[in-house]
Symmetry: none
Subunit: 415 residues, 2 copies
């Protein structure tokens, strides 16, 4: 089942709007077992859209079009598709009734051009729009199915989920479903992960393994295509075991809607331990990242940004002679910051960050040099040296991620 | 001058990633006077990419490809384009040197597949990647120009701006140039800005006015299309004066590569005043945002994250009876936090943030309720109440932006 998505709108080609509709529809169609082979964006130009439809006819069984169903003169998708398959446009009564109700309710004046929105392609199925006025059409002609949807995402999304998706499910019933599982890794780059798993990736056909790199982490999506859910989950379990055998030490959690900070906060909550931080180069980014998670106050009461020698001394009570002797970008400084932060904030754990965010070097050390300290009640304090690359922003984010991972590993060990 | 953009990556067709590259590139190309007629997305499939190149050759003079320059086996864009124009891949020495330096510095193990990233198409111009390892190529063959860029936006964007854009400007010089100027506004929404400027926007043809909404700010791009730079600048000056006459009170700075935090830090530097902060709901985000700016240590030495009542008391010396009586989400708390932070940190100014980040309400006040305090040496301390909408992340970011604007206005007034 091959599909493609055509978005119509000059505003997309000018870079004024991001084509999130293609992303949304792709995810939905993948979920229906329909494979999307192309996304195309074309302007509000009937001739170029017609050329595209000719190409698409030859390579796709389902063509989803979005945009160009509105009331203005440049909304030409419906007319162009109708002409392409030699049909006319007809009135959809339900959409017309809704239009009249809408304008009665809103008390705005209805301009004549709004009526265009209530037309559908003759012989098709009307797809009603729960949050807007433009009606869609689903129509099959010469073994190609066309689905016409409006451009605004706040109309397209509910319309697809409520009304178009059930029609597609009927039209293209699935013998097999896609069952997928996302594994998340920190501390290993994409190229290294792929190298470690090369044999496995090369030999796998069902389930498949798809790596995806994000800043400072890599995810693997395992996907089984199968008739029965239980067998699918078993296949994923088996594959996951093989993956973990190779790179399990870098695994930190499951799922698309997850993150290292979420897992770290969850582990802290489970352990009942509180955390604080003393941040130099990260300047509050570690604590602010904790603050992204609702309910973090259970394990985080506050901490320090100690950007200068003076605040390291005054806020944390660190001996200035130590900083003088060892420098601020040093193991000794990271250890002192973590230990003192833990004491002053009365927390179970404390993380510290000191280093060179760049672009210039500091104390003779290059940008990207970072010491991260971890102090824990009843444990020796440690500090690790990291060398991060790229720009200031990335260096600071990388430091925060490494700090989270140190905390997670320390807490998980004991939970 | 017709162009199209081809993004290569199965993750786009699966809906896992939004094609923001096409949006960014479209905006940049429009700025160069190059018209984009199509965006296409195709998977990591050489055969389908080759078919697409054949089509694109017939309709576009410039084809920009993004994605598929990475180290893994499914990164096939470079190979496919090279084969399409009957060229081979050759080593780019500069990219190779950078790769070796990167792995030497990072101390990670370099896997063999990374070398693929340093190859370019024979006979083309190498386009260096300032924030990544994959080198790009610009090459013209049979009157079609191909520009190959990597997929990750944090690599593609700087690479295009710094290295690809100047090459395209040389290759496709414009008879008329586009002279543009960006004005940045904080504290006014896009719809209101557009309403205020409606007459001006409707009546302008050259220069044009293009509004663009970003989270918590709006920019206006004024663009003159003209042969001579001096006349263009004069046109922009005249239009800017008219714009400022209407909405000047919200203006904070010029330029694409600018931000409210940059302007605020610059103003603080000019004034020679130091700043600190005490952050509750923002949990370090204000200070971390200051930390984004290189050289901020000149005016920022450190501050506090006081998420709980206990840390407000211990770190800042705030009377717990006051918090008990007034609540932490209160004017009194914001004022006490700002005043005490200023004293303890020995700074000229202090900002404080206390409020409800959500999703749940706090002390009977809804999510989005935020008090922001500002203490200044020799001035009465003030606190302003804000009601922000949307989610936790947006509420916290909105609070930080408002805090920056308070500081900027306070300092600018006196500079």
């Amino acid at each position: 089942m091959k599909a493609e998505i055509i978005a119509v709108g000059t505003e997309l080609l000018l870079g004024q709007v991001v084509n999130t509709n293609a992303t949304f529809l792709s995810e939905e169609l993948a979920d229906l077992g329909i494979e999307v082979y192309y996304h195309t964006v074309v302007g509000d130009n009937p001739k170029r859209l017609e050329q595209l439809l000719v190409e698409a006819d030859g390579r796709s069984e389902l063509i989803v079009l979005c945009g160009g169903l509105g009331p203005t003169d440049d909304d030409l998708t419906k007319d162009t598709v109708a002409e392409h398959i030699h049909r006319s446009l007809v009135q959809d009564e339900q959409a017309l009734t809704r239009l009249h109700e809408f304008f009665k309710f809103s008390k705005n004046k209805m301009t004549e051009n709004n009526l265009r929105q209530t037309l559908m392609i003759e012989g098709g199925i009307a797809v009603q729009n729960p949050t807007g006025l433009a009606v869609g059409t689903l129509i099959t002609e010469n073994e190609t199915t066309y689905l016409l949807l409006p451009g605004p995402p706040n109309e397209l999304n509910p319309m697809f989920k409520q009304n178009a998706r059930p029609l597609l499910e009927d039209l293209f019933p699935q013998a097999e479903q896609l069952i997928s599982r996302v594994l998340r890794f920190y501390g290993i780059g994409e190229s290294q992960l792929v190298t470690e798993l090369k044999e496995l990736i090369d030999s796998q056909t069902n389930p498949t393994i798809a790596p995806y790199a994000k800043p400072n982490e890599v995810t693997l999506r395992l996907t089984a295509k199968i008739a029965d859910e239980l067998t699918g989950q078993q296949l994923l379990d088996d594959l996951e075991a093989k993956v973990m055998n190779k790179v399990g030490e870098y695994f930190y959690g499951y799922g698309d809607d997850n993150s290292l900070v979420k897992v770290t906060v969850d582990e802290l909550k489970k352990s009942g331990k509180t955390i604080t931080a003393a941040e130099s180069l990260t300047a509050g980014l570690f604590q602010s990242t904790l603050g992204d998670i609702p309910g973090v106050s259970e394990i985080f009461q506050g901490g320090f940004v100690t950007y200068s020698i003076g605040t390291k001394e005054r806020f944390l009570g660190i001996d200035p002679a130590l900083l003088e002797k060892e420098g601020t970008v040093s193991e000794a400084c990271a250890i002192a910051m973590a230990e003192q932060a833990r004491k002053v904030a009365e927390a179970d754990l404390a993380v510290s960050f000191t280093g060179v965010a760049g672009p210039d070097e500091l104390e003779g050390q290059p940008a990207g040099t970072v010491w991260i300290g971890l102090a824990q009640k009843g444990q020796p304090t440690i500090a690790v040296l990291q060398q991060f690359n790229r720009d200031r922003k990335y260096i600071r984010q990388s430091a925060v991620m490494k700090g989270l991972d140190l905390v997670r590993r320390a807490v998980v060990k004991k939970n």
